[in-house]
Structure formats: C-alpha cells, structure tokens
C-alpha cells in the first residue's frame, strides 16, 4: 500500500486549499460557471441530476482499513450513509453539498486520499489489475508503474486541459483483468527476447458512442522509456485531437481519422525530441515507491478447517467456488466480496459494510483491500485457514453473496437514477435481472456470464464488452433497452453485436429469460459458457429467441 510522503501530503493539502479558494471564487463571482466547471471536474466534483457528486480516487483500486473507515465516516457525515464503487476503481458520493466539498477533501487528505483528476479533460486515475501482487499468472506487480503514472500525470502542467478525458490502464499479467484494450492507453507488461521487462503500448481503445479496440502503437517499449513515450503520445493528442465536437475528441477518433501510421510517426518524432531531455526518475525514487508494493510476508498456514467446511457446508462451498481465486501461495486465497446482493444496487456499500470490510481486511487480510473494475471489493491475501471466519463476518453484514462472475454479478452505471447525461435508468434493470434469475434458481447452472448495463451511449457500464450488453435509450419519451451479444472485455476482447430493436423495461426481462433458456438448450455441456456457445453458433438462434414473432414472420 503506497503511503504518502511529506511531498504528497503537502501537494494534496495545497490542492485542497486551492479548491477551497475556487469554490469561494465561484460564489463571489471571480469565476463564472463555465470557468469553474473544468476546475471542479478536475477535482472530482460533478453536478448530477439531483445533487453534486464527488468521485474520489482509489489509485489502481488499492485501499487499506484506515482509508476504508474514512470513506465510511465521510458517507455518514456528509452523505447518506453509503458510497458507490465504480467501474474505474473509484468511489462516488452522490449527495455532497458544494460548501462541504473542501472539508471532505481535507478529510480524504487525512488518510492520504484525494479526488484529483477523477474527472474532467485530464489524465484520469490510472487503473490496474485488481489482483495485482497476488495473482499466480503475474509477470510484475503493475501498481508500481501505476503509482509512477499517478505522480507523473497529477497536475502535469501541459495536460490539464486536453481535448477530452484520457484513461490509462496497466496490467501485469497476460490475463488482462484491466481491460487495457478499451483505454486511451493500455499498457501490457511483457518481456522481450532478451528477457527485459517492458510494455506493449496499446492506444486508442474506448467504448462510448464509437467503440474501438485499442491498437498497438509500440510492440515493445523498454521500461525506462515509459514516461517520455507517454508524454509524447499526450503531446500529440493535446495538439491535434479534435476540439470542435466532444463526441469526436477522444484519441481513438484522432487515430481513426488520421490513421495509426501517421500518428505513430508523429509520436515517435515527438518521443525522439522529448527523450533526451527527459530525466528518468531516479533509482532511489523508484525504489522508494517499490518498497510500498512489496508482497506481504505470507507465512505457511496450512488450510485449517477450510477443506472440511467446503465438504460440510454447501453455502460455503459455493462461496469458495465463485468468490475465492487462486493465490500465488497455495495456503492463501484471493477473496472477492460481491457488492451485488440479489436485488441490490451494483457497487453500493453502506458505511457499516465498509467498516466490516475494513475490520476483516485488518484482521485477516494483511490490511489490503482492492476495488475491481467489476465493482466488487477484493481481499488479495487471505489464509485459507481464515476464510471460514472471513466468510462468517461477511455473511453477517450481507456481503457474502456467492455470485462473482455469474449472471447477477452485473456491472451497471448509475444511469438516470443519478446521472445527468443518462437516457434511461440502469440500476432497476440490474435489480430486476438479479431478482428474477435468483427466483428461477438458475444462476449456478448458467455459470460464467457477464451482463453489463449502461444508461446511455457513453457506455460507462461497458455494455459493448458484456457477454450480454444492455443499453438504455429514450425512444419517444419512454425508456427502451437495446441488447448487444457476444462482447468480451478480456485479452480475447471483442465488441458485442446489436441484436435488433430495443425492448421496453417490461419486455426486457422475459426476453433475457428466452435468451438464457436458448443457451441452456444449445450448449454442448455444462462447461460450455454462454460466450463460447455464442461464438460457436453465431447470433442466429439467440436472435430467434429474442424476437420470436419477427423470425416466424420471416419464415412464413
């Protein structure tokens, strides 16, 4: 867990004081709203449908118990007793008042947190693999890189008013858990033939109204060149990205309109100019950051009552099957805490739940908590011998839903229940889906399935990469939901295909039931997942299930 140095502390405190001044200037008229808006956004403050919303950075999704408890305190003191964990590993508070925000930011600084560049046309909070430092398939811990990038991008003088937002993700393992191909820049750690570590640099991915899968700009970038190379990409983007149309302003459009070869040439030329003058961070500085990401000492623990309880308790067994992943150390497991209770709001946690997670992490989890981009929480290092106790504590707090990766583990953006840009709601759809499939008792039979819901074309719910994606639209003043099929957000990334006309909220759930039943009928075995079946058979049978009348008419 990275801890603030005096430098970080001073920086963040100054930034809070500066924002306090900006709020005062907005109120006394020194700043008009058009000028204030970009400034509040780069400090994480949105104005939504019913209230302001503060998005707090959880750099690369890493938290400890002190930070989590402070988030709980903020939720109680300045909000309505809960927080919403987002797909970008941040947390949002939905009800702050403008005058309270500087105080909230100070309270965050008390535990080494901030809301800097969680919004606005800036380099956003860098995301990383949520299993970092614990997964058994990892080349290197990506958080060291992510922390360096956080420092480099924070208040970078050149890049505070970009054409549009800019998202960077890093993964340290070949199994991409950070969706790197859907980011403005995705970094994949690799080794070259001589075994040196470096990055594949992927540029121009992104979902939103024109989804693109990122393209490789550099096959292999030596580690030491990372910052100047990124600086070159951002420099070219800042100068040449479109500013006339906010829907064409992301780097993916620049790449698409100019062509990868041209932009690569410009980037490499800029890199050649920047590199010689760019002082690489000193080894001491890097080593100093690195020591915070050392793996905790994990003493051999055996497995205690773990195996026995699996045999004796079916509920515990299904929890371990879905919510516990392999750790590099066989005596340990990675525990995912689902924030997707049946019928609940995806990603929400009450302040009491946050405190329970903090307690459990402190007592059993080496004081580490992660936020996943799938809006769940993760305890990366739990001894198997302790998992029964962890499970019991979580169950008590309503946090032991055994559904990670299953149909009710839904990603949903806030949609029109909160978001000012939304065209339809997404939360109630998620609630209905999880409630319905729980009633049918089909969840475990269906197996791995990712449903992702966005409340508008901006695609914050990543619907394009859901095995089943749902996009909420406004059709003549009524909420309408469009289904996409076959998306995939992992290293085998693909964008879902639109199935056909949208459904009303009432017709949507029965349509999904038909879709799932078709899968269950057509799969070759229980081991063939929805996505595999879809890839084997194509859209045909699934479209027929979604639109039985049309298909009959066509046949007639």
């Amino acid at each position: 867990m990275y801890l603030y140095s005096q430098f970080d502390e001073d920086f963040v405190r100054n930034r809070v004081a500066q924002f306090r001044g900006q709020v005062a200037k907005r109120l006394d008229g020194s700043l008009i709203e058009d000028e204030f808006k970009p400034l509040r956004l780069m400090n994480g403050l949105y104005l939504q449908l019913h209230a302001y919303m503060l998005r707090v950075a959880i750099p690369y999704g890493s938290l400890d118990s002190a930070k989590m408890r402070q988030l709980a305190m903020i939720a109680d003191r300045w909000d309505k007793g809960y927080g919403h964990f987002t797909t970008r590993q941040n947390i949002q508070f939905n009800w702050p008042k403008l005058n309270d925000v500087p105080d909230i930011l100070d309270a965050l600084a008390d535990v080494g947190m901030h809301a800097i560049q969680t919004s606005g046309n800036t380099i956003r909070n860098v995301t990383a693999d949520h299993f970092a430092g614990a997964a058994d398939d990892e080349i290197e811990d990506p958080r060291l890189v992510a922390e360096l990038l956080r420092q480099w991008s924070t208040d970078h003088p050149e890049f505070q008013s970009l054409p549009r937002k800019f998202k960077i993700a890093v993964t340290g393992s070949p199994n991409d858990r950070a969706v790197v191909k859907a980011h403005d820049i995705g970094l994949r750690m690799i080794r070259n033939e001589s075994g040196e570590p470096g990055f594949e640099v992927i540029v121009g991915g992104g979902l939103g109204r024109s989804p693109f899968i990122g393209k490789t700009m550099r096959e292999f970038l030596p580690k030491a060149d990372l910052l100047p190379y990124l600086e070159a990409i951002l420099h070219i983007y800042n100068l040449h990205g479109r500013r006339d149309n906010k829907y064409k302003a992301r780097i993916k459009i620049l790449l698409h309109e100019e062509g990868l070869a041209i932009i690569r040439e410009q980037v490499e030329a800029a890199f050649a100019r920047i590199r010689p003058q760019f002082q690489t961070p000193s080894d001491e500085l890097v080593a100093d950051i690195a020591r915070y990401f050392r793996k905790p000492d994990l003493p051999p623990r055996g497995t205690g009552s773990f195996e026995g309880l699996i045999a004796a308790n079916p509920a515990f067994r299904s929890f371990t099957e879905t919510n516990v992943a392999n750790h590099t150390n066989p005596d340990y497991g990675i525990v995912t805490i689902s924030l997707k209770p049946i019928g609940g709001t995806p990603g929400d946690a009450t302040s009491d739940q946050m405190r329970v997670v903090a307690d459990v992490a402190q007592r059993y989890g080496h004081d580490e908590i992660r936020v996943s981009h799938e809006q769940n929480l993760i305890l990366p290092h739990v001894a198997k011998a302790d998992i029964p106790a962890v499970y019991a504590a979580l169950r008590e707090a309503g946090l032991a839903t055994a559904n990670v990766g299953l149909i009710s583990d839904i990603i949903a953006c806030p949609g029109m229940d909160y978001c000012a840009l939304a065209t339809a709601r997404s939360i109630p759809i998620a609630q209905e889906i999880s409630t319905r499939f729980d009633e049918l008792k089909l969840e475990n039979d269906i197996g791995p399935l990712k449903i992702k819901i966005s409340g508008c074309i901006n695609a914050c719910g990543h619907h394009h990469v859901g095995h089943i994606g749902i996009l909420g639209l406004d059709r003549a003043g009524v909420e309408n939901y469009q289904i996409t099929l076959g998306g995939d957000g992992t290293e085998t990334m693909s964008l879902g295909e639109r199935a056909g006309p949208g459904f009303s909220a009432e017709d949507l759930i029965p349509a999904l039931e038909r879709l799932i039943n078709t899968y269950l009928d057509l799969r070759q075995s229980r081991d063939e997942t929805f996505l595999q079946t879809y890839r084997r058979l194509g859209t045909g049978p699934f479209k027929a299930a979604l639109y039985p009348q049309t298909t009959e008419q066509e046949a007639a």
């Binding site: 920086f11 100054n14 003088p157 008013s161 961070p281 100093d288």
Partner: protein
Amino acid sequence: MTTIVKNGRFLDHDPLALSFKTLEDGKTDAALDLSSDVDPVEIWHRVRWAPALRIHFPSSADGRGFSIAQALRKAGYRGHLRAFGHVLADQYPLALRSGFDDVEISDELAARQPEHQWSDAYGRIQGGYLERLQAGVKRAA
C-alpha cells in the same frame, strides 16, 4: 484593453514594448502572434529567432497553448513566451511551468480576478510532481 501579469503582479505598462506581427507577415525576426492551432514543429523555422512569441488561448478549457510552449522550449526557443487570452489565475502556475514568461489577459478578466488571486497562484508554482520526478530528488525518510 489588456493587463499583463508578471511575477504575480499586474503591470501598468508592457515591458516588452514590441509590436506583434502575424506569422503571415513573413518576418522572422519580429515578435509574433501565434494562434492556438499552430503545429510547433511546422512553424519552428519561422519563429526560432523571434524575440517574443504571444500564444493565443481562445478559452480556458483549451490547453493547446501549454503544449505549444513546451514544444518550443524543448526545441530550444530562448525568447520571451507570453500566454495571451483566456487564462485563469488558477491556470497561471501551469502556464509558467510550461515555459511561459508572462500572461496577458483582458481587463474584464483582470477586474473579475484581481491581482491578489494571481499572486496567490504565483505562490503555487513549486511543489509539482513532474519537476520532482525529473529532478531525481531523494525522499526524506
């Protein structure tokens, strides 16, 4: 009318006392005005000997001027760089850190954001992450 901000102070007259020509005038040794859409690489040979360059900021949300300044400084430009237009007091440190020497704002903005806001902002130039990463400074234990 405009106000020049230098070292966190409003100046009552422009110390440069130069008349700015446009790029199209074709003078390579005069002070030049640059719009925010110039490509610093393309114009380099035409601006490198100019005693001063005034880079336009059409809106406080348009950050191209910061990149233009950075590119010119990295290319070795040693003349005077002035940020001209809609630059807010809160952006003043960014301008200075990007290589500008001073800022020229409208009197309307100067009235709304009086001198003390610029002097406050001037006090925030230090303490940037980028400078620290590049300086290789060792962190106190």
